[in-house]
């Protein structure tokens, strides 16, 4: 285990502070230029890319939503035909779920989790680079196909037989299915990185009960990804097999079953909701502390609620299938389990209310988004309890009531906290503050616009307006409310536009941020804004849940690490006692080659099963290039 005698090793203790940071910057740097950008494995650069790309997809999905609202503003509108409309609502849902909501949450964690646990890079940084390229390729596949009039038109859950070989002719359903494969590969890769980072790379002393709640939320989320996403990979692969090589998974004539699709899809699809929601509540629990000016109330309750939600997530999926004619007893069980989810959700809400009640709240834009979240999410949660009841669900199934419900839980429950998080962590990402005035304006526009857009949809649903219709007749009683919804959507759009303007303007001209502008307690605020490539010149040593608040006289740190190789600390799982000074891989172009080879294989396999055979050869070559040791100091042990 001795270091090789050939390399004279360089330690942080042997040099002055200025030399230390210079040496670390040299070791951990991402070279400038295109090659450097393509080969980087810095979690902060990749995390920023991920977040940026996800917000581009949010904007694109928003444009689709706006098109739908223009179309539905009046009866018998002719802006969009039925075929285009089918593509647009499918694209909107698939894009928002698979290309925006899940990736953006993981992206924030890719950036923040290593900083919050006090390490220098994410675990498996090359896998992280690979996952971003795969995600980008999957998004490009979907949108290029849409531009070529080949966009999927079978709904974001692509039910068979509509998406099967008999009805889903052409390649549209295959584009949907293979886009799933891309996003699931990238999501699973990030989940593995996060689990290992959180398990093994926490700063010395960061025991399980000193992990920030957002990091806990990402740990639970990552396990949900690991356990739930194989179901959708299996579903989409078997769908492609049915369509390409004539298997009969979903063909009742040959012993297959269409409901099997719904089981597989929703076994993934319901945990998917919590894969989006849990990171958001983790953000809220973490952000609320500096703005309430006190520690979050009920840390144990908050963490247990996350874990309980994660476990319950796997026992709810059948509530999406209440009208599919399943046995009554099954329906009753899933009604009970669906209502049970209100308990951990309620615990968290009461913890936040207690935190604000007992604190001295500072009403800056992140806190406004938190309060907006609590109000909106409670409404969405209440309609959730309503649709968990079989008779009620039977009445409103496939109506706008359901559209209203899930936009309340998804936008209210996840996008509001996310926008708050952007305002909150923007200084750490860019080194500049966002404009508070614009932040407040965008909050009020989004909050009012959102509720005015989506609340009337409950009523439209109760009046019987079905989902996914491209137009309606003038004699139906839906005209007035639809026009109101569409006009309100203009306010909502204006709010988002203002938010994007604020982001772009602040990134260039915003006020320069201090290291810890909100006086927040977690470790990412103990380093500079934005952090250097190596995150921390010396690894922090953690003695409490709020290290930055509790060690105001000086952050305890550890020394003894080498500066001439990328080195970080591996600690024990429960008590975070140091175990090894582990090497962290250097930049490499191979993840990009591997991603390109995988992309070719996956797209080719829409057209021919042989792609899997021939396409796997370049992918294997790229993987060997990726893992083969290059004789750098990082290979020493």
């Amino acid at each position: 285990m001795k270091p090789s005698a050939a390399a004279p090793e360089q330690r942080d203790i042997d040099v002055e502070r200025a030399q230390l940071t210079d040496a670390l910057a040299e070791t951990w740097k991402t070279p400038s230029g295109l090659w450097g950008a393509l080969a980087t494995v810095d979690h902060k650069i990749i995390g920023r890319r991920y977040i940026f790309t996800a917000f581009v997809f949010l904007a694109l999905g928003g444009v689709l939503a706006a098109l739908m609202r223009i179309q539905l503003a009046q009866p018998e509108a002719r802006l969009l035909g039925p075929d285009r409309y089918n593509q647009i609502f499918t694209m909107h849902g698939a894009n928002m779920m698979f290309l925006f909501a899940v990736p953006v949450m993981e992206a924030v964690a890719v950036y923040l989790a290593p900083l919050m646990v006090g390490t220098r890079n994410i675990a498996f940084p090359r896998l992280n680079a690979f996952s971003y390229w795969i995600y980008l390729a999957g998004g490009a596949l979907l949108w290029i196909a849409f531009a070529l009039d080949m966009g999927p038109d079978v709904g974001w859950f692509a039910y068979v037989p509509l998406s099967g070989p008999q009805y889903g002719t052409g390649k549209r359903a295959d584009i949907w299915a293979q886009m799933i494969t891309f996003t699931e590969i990238s999501a699973l890769a990030v989940a593995v990185e996060l689990v290992v980072t959180i398990f093994k790379q926490r700063a010395p002393g960061m025991t399980l009960d000193r992990i920030p709640v957002f990091v806990w939320a990402m740990l639970v989320t990552s396990f949900l990804v690991i356990m739930a996403m194989p179901a959708i990979v299996l579903a989409s692969t078997s769908l492609i097999l049915d369509r390409l090589v004539g298997t009969h998974f979903y063909n009742p004539a040959e012993g297959g079953d269409v409901l099997l699709w719904q089981h597989l899809f929703w076994f993934f699809g319901h945990p998917e909701v919590y894969i989006i929601f849990l990171p958001a509540v983790g953000m809220v629990s973490t952000m609320i502390e500096p703005f309430a000016r006190r520690p979050a109330f009920g840390y144990l309750g908050l963490v247990m609620a996350l874990i309980a939600t994660g476990i319950l997530a796997f026992g709810l999926w059948v509530h999406h299938m209440f009208v599919a004619g399943l046995p009554r007893l099954g329906d009753s069980f899933f009604t009970a389990s669906s209502m049970a989810i209100a308990i951990p959700a309620g615990i968290q809400i009461f913890c936040w209310l207690a935190t604000l009640w007992d604190g001295r709240p500072v009403f800056k834009s992140p806190l406004l988004f938190i309060i907006g979240f609590i109000i909106t999410f409670v409404i969405g949660g209440l309609t959730g309890v309503m649709v968990a009841s079989v008779p009620f669900d039977t009445q409103v199934h496939d109506t706008y009531f359901v559209v209203a419900h899930f936009h309340y839980v998804l936008i209210g429950g996840a996008v509001f906290p996310l926008l708050g998080a952007v305002h909150y962590w923007f200084p750490k990402l860019t080194g500049r503050m966002m404009s508070e005035a614009l932040g407040q304006w965008s909050f009020w526009l989004i909050f009012v616009g959102f509720n005015a857009t989506f609340f009337p949809m409950h009523i439209l649903g109760l009046e019987g307006m079905p989902r996914r219709i491209y137009t309606y007749q003038p004699d139906l009683p839906w005209h007035g409310l639809n026009l109101f919804v569409s006009v309100s959507a203009v306010i909502l759009t204006a709010g988002f536009l203002l938010f994007f303007i604020n982001v772009m303007r602040s990134a260039r001209f915003g006020e320069i941020a201090l290291d810890n502008p909100w006086d927040a307690p977690t470790l990412e605020w103990a380093t500079t804004s934005p952090p250097p490539s190596y995150n921390f010149a010396m690894i922090p040593v953690v003695g409490s849940l709020h290290p930055v608040w509790d060690d105001r006289d000086g952050l305890p740190v550890a020394d003894g690490l080498r500066t001439d190789r990328r080195e970080l600390i591996v600690t024990t799982l429960a008590t975070a006692e140091p175990q090894a000074r582990e090497a962290s891989p250097q930049n490499s172009i191979w993840p990009l080659w591997a991603a390109i080879a995988t992309t070719i294989m996956l797209i080719w396999s829409i057209f021919s099963p042989w792609a899997v055979v021939w396409g796997s050869i370049p992918a294997a070559v790229a993987l060997i290039g990726w893992f083969w040791p290059k004789g750098t100091p990082e290979d020493e042990s």
Partner: protein
Amino acid sequence: MREKIVLDLGKLPLHGMGTASVTWWGTLAFMLIEGTGFALVIAVYLYLMSLATAWPINTPPPDLLPGTLVTLILLTSLIPNILLSRWAEQQDLRKVRIGMVMMSMIGTLPLIVRIFEFPALKVSWDSNAYGSVVWTLLGLHTTHIITDLVDTLVLAALVFTRHGRSPRRFGDVQDNAMYWNFVVATWLPIYGCIYWLARL
């Protein structure tokens, strides 16, 4: 923020073995992903079986011989595999090299027999849903054998280079051995499913 030094980490090893290694945990996480995948395909098998009036659908159960032979080979391969893992733990390069060559050869054996296992299913993937699910089960497991074999071959080449003599490499050998154990362990329920459930 100002800093105060409270801990010296200079004495720590440059690489951790077993649970102190991040790749060990990464391998475990990927095993959890793939194990979930296998469990789901078995669930699909049971689901389709529960719907069918007769199982297998319009075909006799598969021939036992090739599948049972693969099972025996895989179970026997555990002995050299576990030995290899021990040698890696002891950081005995000479024995690890022998073990890696041995496991590279042993890894190809089940693949050879598997060539005969697909026809022994006596059904095509496009005959009916039963055929689709047994081909998927067998195909998915075969992919795992191939993946681990390629990994074993590359690692076998690597231990004969100057990069071979390092705790990091011994850790890789241990992780690779652990993954092979996983490939063998997942085969047992699949074997029971394909060959014995079809005979109930």
